[in-house]
Structures are given as C-alpha cells and as structure tokens.
C-alpha cells in the first residue's frame, strides 16, 4: 500500500489506540460469552452500571491502561502490554491482533517465565507445550501441532 492508501490505524495515534483497545474488548467479550461471569456481575465487580459496561465495550477508544486492567482483573484475567517489531515501520498492515499473541502463548504451553519458554523451545516446543496445555485444558489444533513438531525437528540448534 502506498501513502495514499495507508492503513487506517496509521493516520492518527488515536486510531491505532482504538484498534488495540478493540482487540482487547473483543477478548473481554469472548470471555463474557463463555461465562460464567455475566455483564451484570462484571458491572457489580467494577462498581458501575451494566449500561456503562456495555458503553465501554461498544466504544473502547477511551480505555486507559488502568481501566483495562480493572476490566481484565474483574473477569479473572490478566493483561500484558507487548511491544513488537513486525518489520512494518510505516504501519502499512496495521497492528497484529492481540489475540494472535495470546494464541501463540497458549500453543507454547502457556509458559510463565523464560525458563519454561526455554524448556518448551529446547524440547521441541510442542512436546512440553502439549503436556502443559493438557494440564491447562487448552485444545491444540492438530494441524498446528504437526507444523510445530515438524519445524522443531528441522530447527537449527540454538547455541
């Protein structure tokens, strides 16, 4: 894409923030859909009205890091802020969906620190990731599992 057709999140910082916040609220909405916490219970935990929760989820642009944390914790979730370099300096492709990071983390067995991550990588990724994932009741897509195993077996040794 050229500058005349730049990604909509590249035109202003506010637009980029909006998309990041929209990715976040989508994760909250999915959690609410699964249950057991309802919109009403979430509102009670946050000490706001259900209407306010609905308003925030429908218009996430004003989310601040503090309120994002409050919403995530109220749903028994946590959040991480990830800075990354996706080789797209002019932001022609838009931000990577935060759900992608979350899914990758789960597929690696939800490592809690760099030691667990390292173990997962050195033992072929999927083997450790699979056992942890089963413990955490995470369902892995079989095709993805095969790809990870295949890549792990052909990956160069990490010095």
């Amino acid at each position: 894409m050229d500058s005349l057709n730049q990604h909509w999140t590249a035109s202003t910082i506010d637009n980029f923030v909006f998309q990041v916040a929209a990715d976040f609220t989508l994760q909250l909405e999915k959690k609410l859909e699964i249950g057991p916490i309802t919109n009403k219970e979430l509102a009670d935990r946050l000490k706001v009205t259900a209407g306010r929760v609905s308003q925030v989820l429908n218009s996430p642009g004003n989310f601040k890091l503090r309120s994002m944390t409050e919403y995530a914790r109220a749903l028994n979730m946590k959040l991480a802020v990830v800075a990354y370099d996706d080789n797209d300096p002019n932001n022609e492709r838009g931000p990577i969906n935060s759900g992608i990071f979350y899914e990758c983390w789960k597929r690696m067995g939800s490592p809690s620190d760099f030691f667990e991550l390292s173990n997962a990588v050195f033992s072929g990724g999927y083997a450790v990731g699979r056992s942890s994932a089963i413990n955490l009741d995470v369902k892995l897509d079989p095709m993805t599992a095969m790809e990870v195993e295949s890549k792990a077996s052909t990956a160069p040794t990490i010095q």
Binding site: M1, N5, Q6, H7, W8, S11, N15, F18, Q19, A22, D23, L26, E29, K30, E33, N58, S59, G61, E92, R93, G94, N97, G99, I100
Partner: protein
C-alpha cells in the same frame, strides 16, 4: 429504464492478506447505500466499523461483530455495530474472487446499510442473493479481480 451500472471498489485503509472487503455501488439509480453510509460515518463510529473490518480480515470469529447466514442465504454476510443502542448493519455477500491462483482468498462485497429492527431483514438478503449472481455485478468485481469473471464468477463461498 437505463441498465444498471455497478462499480466495485475496495475499502481503503485496510491490508488484505487472505481476505478483502469492498463496496458495490449502482450508479444509475443508487439504492446500494453501503459505501455512502460508510463514508458518512462519524470518526468514532468509523473507527468501530474499521475495527470490525480488521477483526474479520484477521480471521476472527465472533458473531456479535459479524457473521454469515444459514441455508439459502449462506453467501450473505453482515457487519454489526450499535449507534445509541440502535443496531446498525452493513450487508453484502462473500465469494472467492481468485479461484485459480488463490482459491481460499475471500472477498466480502458490501451493498446495503440497514438499522436492525426485531428480526433479520430477509428482503435485503434476498436482493443480495440476486445481485451476487448478477452478470454485471460479477463484471464489476472482475475489474478488480479478473479471475473472478474468467472463471465464471468464482465458486460458491465456503469457509
């Protein structure tokens, strides 16, 4: 009555990897209002709709934001949001516009805007079904995706 003139344009400001979104307009009599409505949204609402677009382009699945329909209307698609608690909808249809070189590539061509009452507007879905196989609509899409007409309009949309 003059023949209808259909024009297809890709939505600007988005990056298309494996999916794309565009608008079909009818220049003779108007009536296909999705592009005009999208262009006149307030910046805040536009951000909401753009974030919905991006989520679909990213491969997200979340019926509260967008979904296809069942049965006779299986190629029809809608993007959803709310404005002052009134449900808003953009309706169109999905197809595979690059059947030869990239068969899994999906295009969502949006045509109509509507505010949702109690039930789904099946009248609009019926019109979309008719237009989705209209030779001049296929020709319009073929201006952007030549394979679409070369292959007879692409195969029926499947997930």
């Amino acid at each position: 009555m003059p023949s209808p003139r259909y024009v297809f344009t890709l939505v600007s400001g988005h990056y298309f990897r494996t999916r794309s979104i565009g608008f079909i307009e009818e220049l003779t009599q108007g009536g296909l209002d999705a592009k005009q409505v999208y262009g006149s949204l307030t910046p805040k609402t536009r951000s909401t709709v753009d974030s919905r677009f991006k989520h679909w382009l990213d491969g997200e699945i979340f019926d509260k934001y967008f979904h296809r329909f069942d049965g006779h209307y299986s190629s029809c698609f809608t993007f959803k949001w709310e404005e002052r608690r009134i449900p808003q909808r953009l309706y169109g249809f999905c197809c595979h516009p690059k059947p030869k070189t990239e068969p899994s590539f999906e295009l969502c061509s949006l045509m109509y805007f509507d505010t949702k009452a109690d039930k789904t507007n099946y009248t609009i879905l019926g019109w979309i079904n008719q237009l989705s196989v209209h030779p001049l609509v296929k020709l319009a899409i073929g201006q952007q995706y030549p394979e679409f007409i070369a292959q007879g309009g692409g195969k029926k949309w499947t997930h």
